[in-house]
Chain length 334, copies 2
């Protein structure tokens, strides 16, 4: 078949180039390729510097990049230097701790994230893990699957969810949805956040230590940044106390993981539900033998429904950027 | 030390005799023994007929019995014949399918149960199992604990809870609390019950088959009786369909278990969360290898808080019976 040029038609306009730094399922990848010329880092097999240099040297170098929260590639000064054509970075997660926002702001690189696409799923997962830890669901599951029920009979008692004081660290989209769900179970909600909110009936704590000492359960639902790294440290765990439960659906580094493992080993807190870890996919091996810990593999956002919503949000933001319209879920400019 | 008679005091009044047909923890047992002369079947080591004959032959034979839902001893005509002094049976569960209510009514034997002591805990457990099945929590737990995360990477996507149509079979105390919780997650509640309720905004279905065909999730929360045995049968599973999830916190025999196992094996339904089974503690071995099934060992009522509430409710009902006052949580007389 003749090329469009040979057939006398105008050549098809070149699709805008896009740097891609995450693996995508087939539908999502196809939707992007239909609209953009995707320069796929993982598919390239190249080392990062060579890949970036190649992209920057193209006649129409990429103006946008799609990156992944918790992924291997950080958007930092080095990356922005390597591809100076970049004007927009889209993070497929809610967290932007893998993006140096100051460097982006300095260079007028716009940033958007996944917005609230994942919020309900993450809140659901947090509540599921809390019920699991209190009511020993996964532990009872192991008990049944290993055939121990007929031999050993009754399983140890769990703990009631109703009436528990739940301290939420970070009352953003996700934290608010967790609060709403737990209210329906009869929990008493406390929270810590950068500032107190007039619009909610929950008790505000200015610092996490005080929040922990007046809570039975601590839920980490904040973004990771320099202020929230290890926001749950040895002192906070001590304040939570030996009957306290901790749930983390934020980022692994929000908790001092070594201290958490020590507190669990020594019975200084009662249990934990962890979807995130400091050095994913590495999980401290000491946790594997603990029946009072529930661990999942950073899957709180993993539903087919949110994946489909993410695809729409990604394309919507990229199309807005390339057509000079307002971003849908803008993080930068502030 | 001298006996009270020898010391000239009146002999202490004999505590009322009580038949006990369940194992109790130490605090609960002590609370009963303080108030009643407990004739403990399991501690006696006797066969049931000999134990009952011995109790009936006492100078002050027992007028009350404490029995356990799902326990080994049924309160039927034979038991009531053997101990004709019985005037009250207390079931430590909400279900009374182990008590022949018609025989009790015929002999004017009063019956009380645990009332709403367990309702919130059972509702919490049902929601926990539903999140677990949809979001693969226990399956992800096995994945992490077996060290597969670093080797295999991403875990399969789960399914969002919000927007799901949840059909509840039995909108009593427990069913209503499940509905209230799931509304907070954005679920759409449908129900089937003996009769439609004007006080709830949920859509009523006269039969379970129609409920299943308009639901994504079916939750069994009804009592077990002759009308509800195998209320979830092959046809209902067929109506629920291949994307459907079933949760059972009622009684194992509410579901035709053999048909459920077959439907799961053949992919004709998507998953199940089961706290109860037809032949507990026996669980069909085919389920042990299924990642889309969450199984717990009839622990939906197992919290230390509800255990303590049960102790209060048991003693309150027994003291009411022995002092001729109204029972607290009466089942019979109707």
């Amino acid at each position: 078949m003749a090329s469009s040029a040979a057939s006398g038609e105008e050549p098809a306009p070149l699709l805008p180039a896009l740097l891609l730094f995450r693996r995508l399922d087939a539908d999502f990848a196809a939707a992007l390729r239909q609209r953009f010329r995707v320069l796929d880092f993982f598919a390239s097999g190249e080392p990062l510097p060579a890949f970036l240099a190649g992209a920057a040297a193209l006649p129409d170098p990429p103006r946008a990049a799609v990156v992944m929260g918790g992924g291997a590639v950080r958007v930092d000064a080095a990356l922005l230097d390597a591809v100076p054509s970049l004007g927009f970075v889209f993070s497929t997660g809610a967290g932007v701790d893998h993006i140096d926002l100051c460097e982006c702001a300095r260079r007028s690189v716009a940033v958007a994230n996944s917005g609230t696409v994942y919020s309900a799923d993450v809140a659901d997962h947090a509540v599921g893990m809390l019920i699991d830890v209190l009511r020993r669901v996964s532990a009872a599951e192991r008990f049944v699957r290993s055939g121990l029920w007929p031999a050993q009979g009754d399983f140890p008692l769990g703990t009631k969810l109703g009436g528990k004081r739940v301290g939420i660290i970070g009352l953003g989209n996700i934290g608010s949805l967790i609060a709403k769900r737990l209210e329906a179970f009869g929990c008493i909600i406390h929270y810590n956040s950068r500032r107190s909110r007039d619009s909610v009936p929950y008790k505000y704590f200015f610092n996490v230590h005080d929040l922990a000492s007046e809570s039975d359960v601590l839920v980490v639902a904040c973004a990771l940044n320099k202020d929230t790294r290890h926001i749950v440290n040895k002192d906070v765990l001590e304040a939570l106390g030996k009957d306290g439960i901790i749930i983390n659906i934020g980022r692994g580094a929000n908790i001092d993981e070594a201290e958490l493992v020590r507190a669990l080993k020594e019975g200084r807190i009662a249990g934990a539900g962890l979807d995130v870890f400091e050095n994913e996919p590495k999980v401290p091996a000491e946790l594997f033998s603990m029946d009072n810990v529930v661990m999942t593999s950073h899957v709180a956002v993993f539903t087919s429904e949110s994946r489909s919503d993410l695809c729409d949000t990604t394309i919507g933001n990229l199309e807005a950027f390339f057509s000079g319209k307002p971003l849908l879920t803008q993080v930068l400019p502030w």
